[in-house]
Symmetry: C2
Subunit: 298 residues, 2 copies
């Protein structure tokens, strides 16, 4: 049994507990969260809930970092130094190289392994993109997201004064382009025209076709479903027009957490350092016997 | 530059030469074929063509085994013992475990690496199936092939007395089931009813819905296109109905050979032994800088 801890207990942390509980090869050492208490969460009954990972009665082998993306590095630092592996779903694409370098150094210092960006995009989608380049080295890959909620865009609208709640839904427009459908709930007395202007001028929205709709209750239109359509048309050898596509329609936190749990297995099978999913043998993500996977899946 | 040889020069061997020529990081040491001559193949002008790999003027680092599937082991044996890596597209799914063991032993003895079953199925499809199990551990995966020519089924019909030529096309029937559409060209005086009976009783066809059509000229209906539709519906954590699909429409020998060439790169990056594609980090399949791939693809 692999001893795992969950660090951070929002949507992803909750889904991580479900994925760890469903797996046969993990035991949960406990949950680390700011409050240090499992109050109001009946599913945490009987589990150690602490403020600091050192307080867990049993030292985990791997920690699933389920805190917000921007605090992943800070959270992982102390854990990797303790010789505990980490898995995160860090999702700011442009910052992955510097995170890779920073986590790699920390992991090697601690003799541990950090799995970086082990969600679905970045994550499993990255594996598909890499595989398709190996299949058809020349050509274009388009990653089309949605329909589904974009957390980053929703948060950007919520930060605007006068907004009570907001939801930004990503709609694929083809060729890797996207429309943004924004559902905005106003605070009393807020000026819709002014807020609309502020959204359209925000860098998150300025480059995409954006539509804004004011609704009385955002919670009535929010759901956790998401999807992707990856397409590549390219050249294998000297043969053109090789066509590939990958599609999924999924519950976002459930898939993210499941991939993190699968990556936690792989963490224990690598030498110290930092790895993204494209750097891991896919077989390392699965529980059970390698020989059985080779016979059944190859 | 990676020094590569092509062993066997049929459809796959020809496509392998195209893929090696299109790659920036390979040089072709030559072609090994029974005839030992490049006569009638203008694309082989200027390349060493020999009967035995030892006769090549320059020792390759990796050999692409493009001989028929049943002779892969025999062909690979001598090459691996010379310390040359091998890549094959061995495609008899049920015999992969024993091939893995045999090639693994030979490779370790020779201090070399054998990449086994590096085509599209087994091969890139195997990577997709493995990834989808990591995304949704419980559930069903269906691999639906076609429409496209099945080499094995076509050869089985051609072996029947009275058959001049034959083509068996695989048509997906959903849920991993398939129909077989057989296009048969008879020899003069052959009895179509008898041949139809023999096809339907053959173990290759007895388990699938099979349709037989007699045609005057099989070459007029043959094409190298093929396809696959892989679908998985499963459970991530405790969330059901997560849906995934992977589709491709491709030229069969071109894709097979391209994947073999990509796998040849990975061969040089592993420790001695045998590997299927699910045992390789996908990044190892690509040319160029790892840091660049991580920044661009993750």
């Amino acid at each position: 049994m692999i001893k795992a801890a969950i660090v951070g207990y929002g949507n992803i942390g909750r889904a991580a507990l479900e994925a760890l509980s469903a797996a046969q090869d993990f035991s949960v050492c406990g949950v680390v969260r700011r409050s240090g208490s499992g109050e109001g969460c009946p599913e945490l009954n009987g589990l150690p809930v602490v403020q600091n990972i050192e307080e867990l009665p049993e030292k985990p082998e791997v920690a699933l970092i389920c805190t917000p993306t921007r605090s992943v590095l800070e959270t992982a630092e102390g854990i990797l130094k303790m010789g505990i592996c980490t898995v995160d779903s860090f999702d700011i694409h442009t910052q992955i190289p510097q995170m890779h370098a920073a986590l790699g150094q920390l992991a090697r210092q601690g003799g541990s392994v950090a799995i970086l960006s082990a969600g679905w995009d970045p994550g499993s989608d990255s594996v598909v993109r890499t595989l398709l380049e190996a299949c058809a080295p020349k050509g274009l890959t388009f990653t089309n997201f949605g329909p589904g909620m974009s957390m980053g865009h929703s948060v950007a609208i919520r930060a605007i004064e006068g907004v009570a709640d907001a939801l930004s839904v990503t709609i694929p427009a083809g060729a890797g382009l996207h429309k943004r459908m924004c559902y905005v709930q106003l605070k009393k007395g807020a000026d819709p025209a002014k807020i609309e202007r502020q959204i359209l001028e925000d860098d998150y929205f300025a480059h995409d076709e954006t539509h804004i709709q004011f609704v009385p209750d955002v919670s009535a239109v929010r759901d956790m479903g998401h999807g992707v359509h990856i397409e590549r048309k390219g050249v294998s050898g000297s043969t053109h027009s090789q066509r590939f596509s990958f599609d999924m329609q999924i519950n976002n936190p459930a898939l993210t957490a499941q991939i993190m749990v699968s990556a936690a297995r792989a963490a224990l099978r690598q030498t110290p350092g930092c790895y993204t999913l494209i750097e891991l043998p896919p077989i390392d993500l699965l529980p059970g016997e390698r020989a059985e996977h080779i016979a059944r899946l190859v």
